[in-house]
Symmetry: C2
Subunit: 308 residues, 2 copies
Amino acid sequence: MNMAASKCVRLNGELSRRFLSSVDTVLFDCDGVLWRGDEAVPGASELVNGLKGSGKRVFYLTNNSTKTRAMYADKLGRLGFSAEPGEVFGTAYCTALYLRDTARLRGKVFLIGGGALSQELEAAGIPHLGQGADPVTGGMKDWAALSRDPEVRAVVVGFDEHFSYMKVTRALHYLQDPDCLFIATNTDTRLPLEGGQTIPGTGCLVRAVETAAHRKAQVIGKPNSFLYDCVVKECGLDPSRTVMVGDRLDTDIQMGSTCGIRTLLTLTGFSSLEDAKAYQNSGSLSLVPDFYVDSVADLLPALTNNAS
Amino acid sequence: MNMAASKCVRLNGELSRRFLSSVDTVLFDCDGVLWRGDEAVPGASELVNGLKGSGKRVFYLTNNSTKTRAMYADKLGRLGFSAEPGEVFGTAYCTALYLRDTARLRGKVFLIGGGALSQELEAAGIPHLGQGADPVTGGMKDWAALSRDPEVRAVVVGFDEHFSYMKVTRALHYLQDPDCLFIATNTDTRLPLEGGQTIPGTGCLVRAVETAAHRKAQVIGKPNSFLYDCVVKECGLDPSRTVMVGDRLDTDIQMGSTCGIRTLLTLTGFSSLEDAKAYQNSGSLSLVPDFYVDSVADLLPALTNNAS
C-alpha cells in the first residue's frame, strides 16, 4: 500500500527540480508526448532542447513503424526538436535489428508494412517482399494456391495502408510453417492525429493475421522491452538515472516498469489521470507512473532554475 | 459424470436406426459436412435426399456469408442435393432478417462484405454502401477525414475479399458513434477448401474492425442461436425431434447445445474426435456432441433399413 501511495505524483515546483537533477537520460515517446499528428505540443521542443543543453541525453522510443530513423530525425527537426538519427529507436529500425542480430534470420521476410520498414530492412541487409498494393484476382481456389517464395522465413506486420485480404492470405500460408517467424512491430489499436481524430493502428492488422494463423506474433514495440534493450546495447545508460516519458500506460509506462526505470506520464495524449488512478486503486502498479505532468512543458521552469 | 459418459457416442447399427426414427428435422452445416470447397462428401447427397424421401425435413444452416439462399440452393443442386432456397439459412440472408425484423434498422448499412450479402440486404429493403474495392488515396490526414454518410446506422462485417485498411478506417469512423450497430455475420477464423487448403475466414476481418473500434461485434452465425431461431420462426420445429449435424464443435455443436437439441459431429471437416474427447474430459459438455460419425454417409444403411 505504501508503494502504491508513493506513485502517480504530480511533478512540479521543487520536486521537478530534484527529479531533473536525478536524471541523466530521458527516453521520450513521440506521438501524444512531443506532438499530435504534425503539431508539436507547445513548449515540448524547448524542454527537449533544454535537457540536451544541460548535458542530459535524450532518446526517442516510438512504436510507430511508418518512419525510418532518418525520417524521424527530419520530422523532429522540422518541429523544432534537436535530434540525430542515432537517437531514434523506432519499431521500423528495431524490427530490422531484431531480425538481423537476435533472430539471425537466414531467408526472406514477407512484409506487411510500408516504405520505412522496407528501407530499414534493406539497410540491415534483409531481403523482403510484399510491399505495396496487392490487388484481388481470381476466386477462393486461386487465393488458396497463391504462389509462395520458398525462401521466406519470417512474416513481419507493421503499419500498412495497403493492408488487404490478399496480404492476410499470403501471411497465413507462410505462417502455417511453424518455423516461420511471426513478428509485429507493435499492437497499438489506434493512431491519434491532430484534433482528436484517429485512424486504425497496426494492432488491427496484427489481430487479423493472428486470427488467421492461429498464432500470436512476437511484438517488437512497447510494452516489450526490446526498444529499451536496443538503446542500452547501442548507447549504454544507467537505469537508476533514466526516465521513460510517455502518454500511454499500457505501452510506455508498462515498458518503463518492466525495465526497472522511473516513469513519467504526460496527459497530452492517450491515457488520462483517471486511468492511472484506476490502475493504482486496483493494484496494477506496473501500469501506474511514478510521476505525471499535464504536459512535458510543465518541466520547463525546473529546467531553467537548474540551469541558472 | 453420467451425463458426460453418455455423450460422444458413435452412431452405427441399431443405434443409428433408432436415432433416425426419433428425428423429424435435420439441420445440416454445409462446409466440411456436405462438401469441402466444390467436392461433395461421398454419399452425403444420397443421405440428405433419402432423409427427405422418408418424410424428414432438412434445413441448411451455414455461417458462410458468400452466397444468397438462391446461390446455396444452386450449389446444393449442382452437387446432387435436393434443396430449395427456403431451406437455406445462411448468414447473408439471416443478417438481413436480423437488421430488418429484430433491430428494425432505420438507416443505411456500411457493408464490409461481398455480393451475396449486398443482394440479401437489397432483397430485405435495406440500403447499404461500401461494397467492392476501396483504393488507398492520400495520407493519414485524408484517411482521418474520409467522407461519411450521415444516414449510416449499422456496420456489417462479412466475408470480403476486398477487405482493406480503408474499409477498417471507414468502419472505425462509423462505430465511434455508440448508437451505430456493429454486426458480424460470423467469426470463423478460416475457410476450409478442397485438399486441406485454407484461406482466412471472416473472423480475421471482424477482429481487425473490433480492435480498431474498441467494441465487440454482435455475431449472427453459430454458435449464436440466431440461425436456429430463424428456422423456428419461419418453419417451426419440435426441438425434441431435431438434430444439428456439423463438423465444428465451437460453432455447430455449441449452437445445438445452446438450443437444447441433439447434436451429431461428423469427422469430414474441422474438428476431430480427439478435440471432442478433450472437451468431454475437461467437462465442457456444451462442446461435446451427443453422437459422432466418420461421415454423414455412415447413416445411409440405417436409412435404407428404415425405408424397407
